[in-house]
C-alpha cells in the first residue's frame, strides 16, 4: 500500500482577501449571499460592513439567516477609512475564538466617496493585507464596477491578492497585486490651506494649541461633542509631534466644504504604516493617541516623507 503525505512546499497565508466586482444587485447577491451561507454552515462567525443600501439588500436576501450575521453600515462605522481595521474588522475578528475562521464582507469604497477620502480608502484596502497576514480570516470586498471609475477598479486589483470578476464566478489570482506600491503612491502631499488659523507649537504651548483649535472650531460652527473631539484630536496630534516628531510642529484649523479641518505638521517621519490602526489591548500603556484620532474624525489623511509628516483630520458640524 502506498501512503502519501501532503507536505506543501510553502505554507499559504491563511488570510484570504478577494475583491468582488459586481455590476448589478443580482451579481452583488450572487457574490455575497453564498459567501455568508457557507460561513454560517461551517459554524464561522460572519459580519458584513457595507453601505446602508447594500446592507438592506443583503439583509432581505438572507432572510432569517441575517440574524446570525453582524451587520454594520459602513457609511457610519467606516466613514473614516483609518478606523475600519481597528474599529470594524479587527474588532469583530479579535472577539472570536482563536483559530476559528472568521468571514467578513467589507465594502469601504463606494461611488460617492470624495476625492479627499479616496486615497485613505485605497491605503486602507492595501494595509488590510499587512494587518491580517497569518490570520484565519476571509475579508471579501465588493466593488461596484458599474459605478466606480476605472482607476478605482484598477487599484482594487493592486490591493487584493485575488479577484472575483463578477457575480459568482471563481476567484482568480490578481497579477497586479502590489499593496506596498499603493500605500506609497497614495502617500500624497497635502497642500497648505491658504486661510487657515496657524499656530506653531512646542511642548510648553500644547494647551494653547488646543485652545486655539477649539476657539477656531467654535468660530467655524462646531459645538458640543464634536468640539470636544476636535480638542482631543488636537491634543493627541500635537503631543505626538512634541514626543515623536522633533519636539515641535505647526497646527492649522480651517473650514472647507462645510467641514472643519485640523492639521498638524512636524519634522518626524512615519515608519509604521499600521500606526493608529491596531486595536489597543486593555493593558497596553500608551500608543493610543493616533488610534483615538482615527476613531474620532470623519476622515484622517497622512502624508509622510523626508521633509516631515502632515496629519489632517476632518470634522463635520
Amino acid at each position: 500500500m502506498r501512503t502519501t503525505t501532503a507536505t506543501p512546499d510553502v505554507t499559504p497565508d491563511p488570510f484570504v482577501h478577494p475583491a468582488l466586482f459586481y455590476r448589478s444587485d443580482r451579481e452583488y447577491l450572487d457574490g455575497t449571499v453564498p459567501f455568508v451561507r457557507e460561513g454560517l454552515a461551517a459554524g464561522e462567525p460572519v459580519a458584513a460592513a457595507v453601505p446602508g443600501d447594500r446592507l438592506r439588500l443583503l439583509r432581505d436576501a438572507l432572510g432569517a439567516d441575517a440574524r446570525r450575521v453582524r451587520l454594520l453600515d459602513m457609511r457610519e462605522a467606516g466613514r473614516n477609512p483609518g478606523r475600519i481595521i481597528p474599529g470594524v474588522l479587527r474588532a469583530f475578528a479579535d472577539a472570536q475564538p482563536a483559530g476559528q475562521r472568521v468571514r467578513i464582507i467589507g465594502e469601504p469604497v463606494w461611488a460617492g466617496r470624495s476625492a479627499s477620502e479616496y486615497p485613505a480608502c485605497v491605503q486602507h484596502e492595501a494595509l488590510i493585507n499587512a494587518a491580517f497576514r497569518g490570520r484565519t480570516v476571509t475579508i471579501l470586498c465588493p466593488y461596484d464596477a458599474a459605478r466606480l471609475p476605472g482607476h478605482v477598479l484598477e487599484d482594487a486589483h493592486a490591493t487584493h491578492p485575488t479577484v472575483i470578476p463578477g457575480g459568482s464566478r471563481p476567484a482568480r489570482h490578481s497579477e497586479a497585486y502590489a499593496p506596498d506600491a499603493i500605500v506609497a503612491r497614495y502617500n500624497e502631499p497635502l497642500p497648505l490651506a491658504p486661510d487657515a488659523m496657524t499656530f506653531p507649537f512646542v511642548a510648553d504651548s500644547l494647551p494653547e494649541a488646543r485652545h486655539a483649535a477649539t476657539d477656531e472650531g467654535r468660530r467655524l460652527g462646531l459645538t458640543g461633542t464634536v468640539l470636544d473631539d476636535l480638542a482631543l484630536a488636537t491634543a493627541e496630534l500635537t503631543t505626538n509631534s512634541v514626543l515623536h516628531g522633533g519636539g515641535s510642529g505647526v497646527l492649522r484649523v480651517w473650514g472647507e466644504d462645510g467641514r472643519v479641518l485640523c492639521e498638524v505638521r512636524d519634522a518626524g517621519r512615519f515608519t509604521d504604516p499600521l500606526a493608529g490602526r491596531r486595536p489597543a489591548s486593555r493593558d497596553q500603556r500608551g500608543g493610543r493617541g493616533l488610534l483615538m484620532v482615527n476613531l474620532l474624525a470623519d476622515l484622517v489623511r497622512v502624508h509622510t516623507g523626508d521633509e516631515g509628516t502632515t496629519i489632517r483630520c476632518w470634522f463635520s458640524r
Binding site: 494647551p207 494653547e208 485652545h211 480638542a231 503631543t239 483615538m292
Partner: protein, 116 residues
Amino acid sequence: MGSRHRTPYGPGGPGPSLTVRPLEGCRGIRAAGEVGLATHMIWERVLEQAVREGEGVYYLELSEVTFVDVAGAGALAAAAGRLGAGRRLVVRRPPPALRRVLETFWPGLPTIEVTT
C-alpha cells in the same frame, strides 16, 4: 504667521498646571487644571496615592479639571486595575473627553465609577 485667536495663557506666560488638594469629609482629592503632557507626572502621583491609600472608595473630584488627554485616561485606567479587592475609584464630574476615552478603550472597568 498670525493667528486669529486669543488664548487664556499669554505668550511666555505660565503654562498649564494641575493643582491638587485633599477633599474634606471623605478620602480623595479635588484637582483643578488639566491633565496633559506637562502635568502627567502630577497626575500619576495623585493616582499612586489613590491606589496606596486606604480601603474602599477613593474620590477624584474633577469638576475643575478642564481637559484630560488619552495618556491621562490610560493612567487612570491602569491605577484602577491595580486596586485591591473591594476597592474602587469614584471619578466625579470629569471633563467629557475623559468619559469618552474610558468608554472607548476601557469599557466596563469594574473599579472605576464615573458620576456626573
